[in-house]
């Protein structure tokens, strides 16, 4: 498969992201609000918007990297022979974690960790690890026994089997899980505004509270733009890493 073909899904996502990003720019958002019949209100200026976007990106990015590392590492551990007995436990914990929505995790972390970025980061990591772990375990378990037998037969060591057979074959499943985790990270960082984290969720929450549509639209469009662009970037990087 050529590189172009592999990264083509990123094009649509990236363009959507750019379009949404354009909507979040002050002049566009004001026009849009006027078209919706809103009284003209002050928009977030470009400086503040980019500051919030940068903080959002830092929070979601840090969380995502931690989630990806921990999720894949634990996933690999969970599929080793010695952990076979613990696998059903991991499955049931993962299923249970799914029942707790991210906003509730943020809320519960608040009294423990206080206001600001930390509770959000914790919520993000606690919540995002599970899908990545599950994806990694699922992907590695789906590797056909024939491929493993063949690898053993040609004399590969366990570490070689992991890096040359299991991980490459499981990669598409892991990538899907990583995409879910990235979108989740961007969304949770937005919800973190409720816990006082300063992100693109902040103008949305504030706008909802004081009926100020322009910053609300800007925050919403910019958050969505970040999610689409992040998703596109992930596909792009994954496509380029895999020659």
């Amino acid at each position: 498969m050529t590189l172009i073909k592999r990264v083509r899904p990123a094009l649509g996502l990236g363009l959507t992201g750019l379009a949404l990003g354009a909507v979040s720019l002050p002049p566009v958002a004001i026009r849009l609000a006027e078209a919706l019949g809103e009284p003209p209100r002050r928009a977030l200026d470009l400086h503040r918007l980019s500051e919030l976007a940068w903080q959002h990106l830092q929070l979601a990015g840090t969380g995502f990297i931690l989630v990806a590392l921990a999720g894949i590492a634990f996933g690999i551990l969970a599929t080793r022979d010695f952990a076979a007995a613990a696998r059903p436990a991991i499955d049931s914990i993962a299923a249970g974690a799914q029942a707790v929505p991210p906003v509730v995790v943020v809320a519960l972390a608040l009294p423990v960790l206080g206001f600001g970025g930390p509770p959000t980061l914790l919520a993000l990591v606690a919540y995002g690890v599970m899908p990545v772990l599950r994806g990694t375990v699922g992907g590695i378990q789906a590797v056909s026994p024939d491929a493993l037998d063949a690898a053993r037969a040609v004399g590969l060591t366990k570490a070689q089997i992991l890096t040359r057979v299991e991980l490459p074959l499981a990669w598409p499943v892991i990538l899907e899980a990583l995409r879910t985790a990235l979108v989740l990270a961007v969304a949770t960082a937005a919800v973190g505004a409720l816990a006082g984290a300063s992100t693109l969720g902040t103008p949305i929450i504030a706008g909802l509270q004081n009926q100020n549509t322009v910053p609300m639209l800007q925050g919403a469009a910019a958050t969505a733009a970040l999610a689409f662009l992040g998703d596109a970037a992930l596909i792009l990087v994954a496509g380029m890493l895999r020659r």
């Binding site: 078209a35 019949g37 059903p88 436990a89 809320a107 979108v183 949305i204 909802l208």
Partner: protein
């Protein structure tokens, strides 16, 4: 099916006993505070339960021991019973311990649950989950939690937990919480219905399935807070253009945009489930049905839907759990529900109020997940019969 079951690995059991001892003996079981906003002074398990803590630990260890040795269903069930007993004893002991400590305290004082109790509860429920799995009795996973809730609920009704901060918080806003639960269920249920209607309409549009896939997939990328915010703006714009929509009850803030927003996220699982379910019968049986002279609608109702039923219920399960979680955010745009209690708690920085909203959300989601996966299994079994 043989009666032999999968035992709990010994190393996990050992870890469980150690973790349980650490949780009950070294982490605070209760925190006593002069009011609901400050972090209280810790009170440890030995002080709250006295030597009962040894009995609880011992019977817990016995249960995991039984599960390690478990090769029969009966052992798993005995372990499950003892674990449930442990949980009840722990809860009643906590209630009594808190009542004992609250004597002579000012009315604003609170006894809230400490980290040790949360850890112990997590450990207990994990092992009970294992025992339920090991017993291999369908429905037990729903029955045991419901029974435990009923017992603890009755005890709470009789006043066993009145001194615990959560119960005080609940007593202060019983009406609001009960109403929020109903609103939450209404919001989540309404969104599922709307999502089903949307998914059916989308799958009727044969030519556009490629576009539909891109759209319903794209929605998943948009963070829910952003989508809800944008919907409020769009709906208020729409109401300015067509004011008569107000007469049918649509408003920019409230249940309307929340239902639309939540339903948008449910389209992907529901639409995908519907498409997969309709393709469930193999081509040979479809040919046979056509050969027998069945009409298209007869094939749909007698062949495609019954054969696809487990997939449909599975899609419904995913959508229901998502819907119950997303409904929490509805409170941000004035749709009420349990999210309002959570957000009130965050605004007041009152941990017990947050819990009062969060616990029912998690319980409802887990209940929906368990209940519908039982229905899914039942549908699958019926197919095989």
């Amino acid at each position: 099916m043989s009666a032999r079951i999968r035992p709990l690995p010994g190393i996990l059991a050992l870890g469980w006993v150690i973790a349980m001892a650490v949780a009950l003996l070294t982490l605070p079981a209760l925190r006593i505070a002069p009011n609901r906003l400050v972090v209280g002074t810790p009170v440890y398990g030995l002080e709250v339960f006295g030597w009962w803590v040894a009995a609880i630990l011992a019977s817990g260890a016995l249960c995991v021991g039984l599960l390690v040795a478990a090769t029969t269903r009966r052992r798993a069930l005995v372990a499950l019973g003892f674990l449930a007993l442990c949980a009840i004893l722990l809860a009643l002991g906590l209630g009594a311990g808190a009542a004992h400590r609250m004597v002579g305290q000012p009315p604003a004082a609170r006894a809230s649950l400490g980290a040790g109790i949360w850890s112990a509860a997590a450990l207990l429920s994990f092992t009970m989950g294992f025992a339920v799995q090991a017993s291999r009795i369908a429905g037990l996973g729903l029955f045991v939690p419901v029974l435990l809730l009923a017992i603890l609920g009755t005890a709470g009704h009789l006043g066993a937990f009145d001194s615990l901060s959560l119960a005080v918080e609940y007593a202060a806003r019983r009406e609001a919480v009960n109403e929020a639960v109903l609103q939450h269920l209404g919001l989540a249920g309404g969104a599922v219905l709307l999502g089903i209607a949307g998914a059916v309409l989308l799958s009727l549009w044969r030519r556009g399935q490629g576009l539909v896939a891109i759209l319903v997939g794209g929605v998943q990328v948009i963070p829910a807070v952003a989508l809800l915010g944008a919907l409020v703006a769009l709906v208020s714009g729409l109401l300015r253009l067509v004011p008569s929509l107000r007469d049918i009850g649509l408003s920019a803030l409230g249940a309307g945009p929340a239902l639309i927003g939540i339903a948008a996220y449910l389209l992907l699982p529901l639409w995908r489930g519907l498409a997969t379910a309709l393709r469930a019968p193999d081509p040979a049986s479809l040919d046979a049905a056509t050969g027998l002279g069945l009409t298209r609608s007869q094939i749909l109702w007698r062949l495609r839907l019954p054969l696809g039923a487990p997939i449909l219920v599975g899609a419904l399960r995913v959508a229901a759990v998502q819907s119950l979680g997303l409904a929490t955010l509805g409170a941000l745009i004035g749709a009420g529900g349990l999210g309002r209690i959570v957000f009130d708690g965050m605004a007041q920085f009152a941990p017990d109020l947050i819990l009062l909203g969060a616990i029912p959300i998690v319980a409802l989601s887990l209940g929906a997940e368990r209940g519908l996966s039982l229905a899914e299994d039942a549908a699958r079994l019926r197919l095989r019969a």
